[in-house]
């Protein structure tokens, strides 16, 4: 019984604290994305013809690690039974990738464009679905920050 209560408390805590943290993170993501909107981030490999002179090109990367909470974990494992979209993890992955891109852009605030942007995602703590550990997601974004001569 005591164990059950602990599980329920952890799930409740995960829901309350987890949703507060997520809302706060999304607010931060949205406002920072607006601030850095002037740097286009594209996946093309090469500079497109257009008569610009490049004065600086450097690799930039940003990475972030976000942990899931007990509520998301239980919700996802319930979803595993029935199948369908694991919405609990969708926001987690979305947050991680957008945050990684933001951090990458923040590393090159004076760039005119980030070319060849790539995003890698990996799990940290392989035993994400084991009973006693909780998994995390790492997202890393990298690309080539290019500045033109103006």
């Amino acid at each position: 019984m005591g164990q059950l209560i602990i599980v329920i408390v952890l799930i409740g805590l995960g829901y309350v604290v987890g949703s507060i943290a997520e809302k706060r993170h999304y607010r931060s993501i949205i406002s920072r994305e607006a601030q850095l909107l002037h740097i286009p981030t594209v996946s093309v490999k090469n500079m497109i013809e257009g008569g610009v002179d490049i004065i600086d090109a450097r690799m930039v990367q940003g990475s972030v690690v976000i942990s899931i909470d007990h509520f998301k974990r239980i919700l996802a494992s319930l979803r595993n039974i029935f199948g369908g979209n694991v919405t609990a993890y969708e926001s987690l992955v979305d947050r991680a990738r957008r945050e990684a891109i933001l951090r990458m852009k923040e590393k090159s605030p004076n760039a005119d464009i980030v070319l060849n942007t790539r995003i890698e995602t990996s799990t940290i703590g392989r035993s994400a679905n084991n009973r006693k550990s909780i998994g995390s997601i790492e997202a890393m974004a990298y690309g080539t920050a290019v500045s033109y001569r103006k």
């Binding site: 164990q3 059950l4 599980v7 829901y15 949703s19 994305e33 607006a34 909107l37 002037h38 286009p40 090469n46 500079m47 497109i48 013809e49 257009g50 008569g51 610009v52 002179d53 490049i54 004065i55 509520f71 998301k72 239980i74 919700l75 494992s77 319930l78 979803r79 039974i81 029935f82 979209n85 919405t87 609990a88 969708e90 926001s91 992955v93 979305d94 084991n130 009973r131 006693k132 001569r149």
Partner: protein, 269 residues
């Protein structure tokens, strides 16, 4: 500085201008209420459990009475290891004698039974799979006559004759299997339920308890030609019982007073 790659396979208009635009919607995250989803899924699991438990439970009740005695013996292996503090003295010999005489008058031909006296203050007796009847010394101190003790033993024999212990075991197994199926063997919830499984299999429904009482009366009648011993023990239990009748609604044994009423009506008939 040199211009980067001019041999592009495509051309872009020279006057293309980058105009930053903020996206207001997020297509990568489904906009649902996670709490609502949680409760819908939990409800789904519960429906699955209830239906599965009900259906398989009926199957268990169907199979248990038809299970050959040999299979029962094989199933009882885990219960052979005695976890209790077994006592061997004159009282336990007396217990074996009374049990033997009751088994002799049993109408069914079913396996071998034995009684084990265990040093414990609880006023209780248990029927373990494999034909082992556990009697606590606490109960031995309460009974005053051979017939009272015979009623208790007859009650447990009744559980064996009705295969209640197998039904309990089977239902416990069904319950556990469903949980393992749902949550996997590693889940902490499964471990928790597995831990309480030992309790599940020795608890019987109220109907089963009444039937065991009736069976005991029948045995007492065959053995001693009268059933007054049963009443004595029940009345003692009833006078000691402080719990109200309501609490008994949720417990496994019927209230002693209800059991007395049942016994009386059986005697008159």
């Amino acid at each position: 500085m040199r211009r980067w790659l001019t041999e592009q396979p495509y051309r872009i208009a020279n006057d293309l201008k980058y105009s930053p635009k903020e996206l207001k919607t997020n297509v990568n995250v489904t906009q649902t209420s996670s709490l609502k989803e949680f409760f819908i899924l939990i409800a789904g699991v519960l429906v699955f459990l209830v239906i599965g438990y009900g259906a398989l439970g009926f199957l268990v009740d169907f199979i248990a009475p038809r299970l050959p005695y040999k299979i029962e013996q094989a199933l009882s292996g885990p219960f052979e290891h005695n976890i209790f503090d077994v006592k061997k003295n004159k009282e336990s010999e007396e217990l074996e004698r009374i049990l033997g005489e009751l088994v002799d008058v049993m109408p069914e031909e079913v396996g071998s039974y034995r009684a084990t006296l265990v040093d414990d203050n609880r006023v209780n007796a248990m029927a373990l799979p494999g034909g082992n009847i556990i009697v606590f010394t606490g109960l031995m101190n309460e009974v005053e006559s051979e017939e009272e003790l015979a009623f208790v033993l007859g009650h447990e024999l009744g559980h064996f004759a009705n295969r209640d212990h197998l039904k309990g075991l089977g239902r416990g197994l069904v319950f556990y299997s469903l949980f393992v199926l749902l949550l996997g063997p590693d889940s902490s919830l499964t471990e928790l339920i597995g831990g309480s499984l030992a309790g599940v299999q020795v608890k019987f429904s109220q109907h089963q308890e009444v039937m065991a009482d009736m069976y005991a009366l029948d045995l007492l009648n065959r053995r001693y030609g009268q059933v007054t011993g049963a009443m004595g023990f029940m009345e003692k239990l009833a006078s000691k019982e402080k719990k109200g009748r309501l609490a008994y609604y949720f417990s496994t044994h019927p209230h002693p007073k209800a059991r007395i009423a049942n016994i009386k009506s059986k005697i008159w008939n």
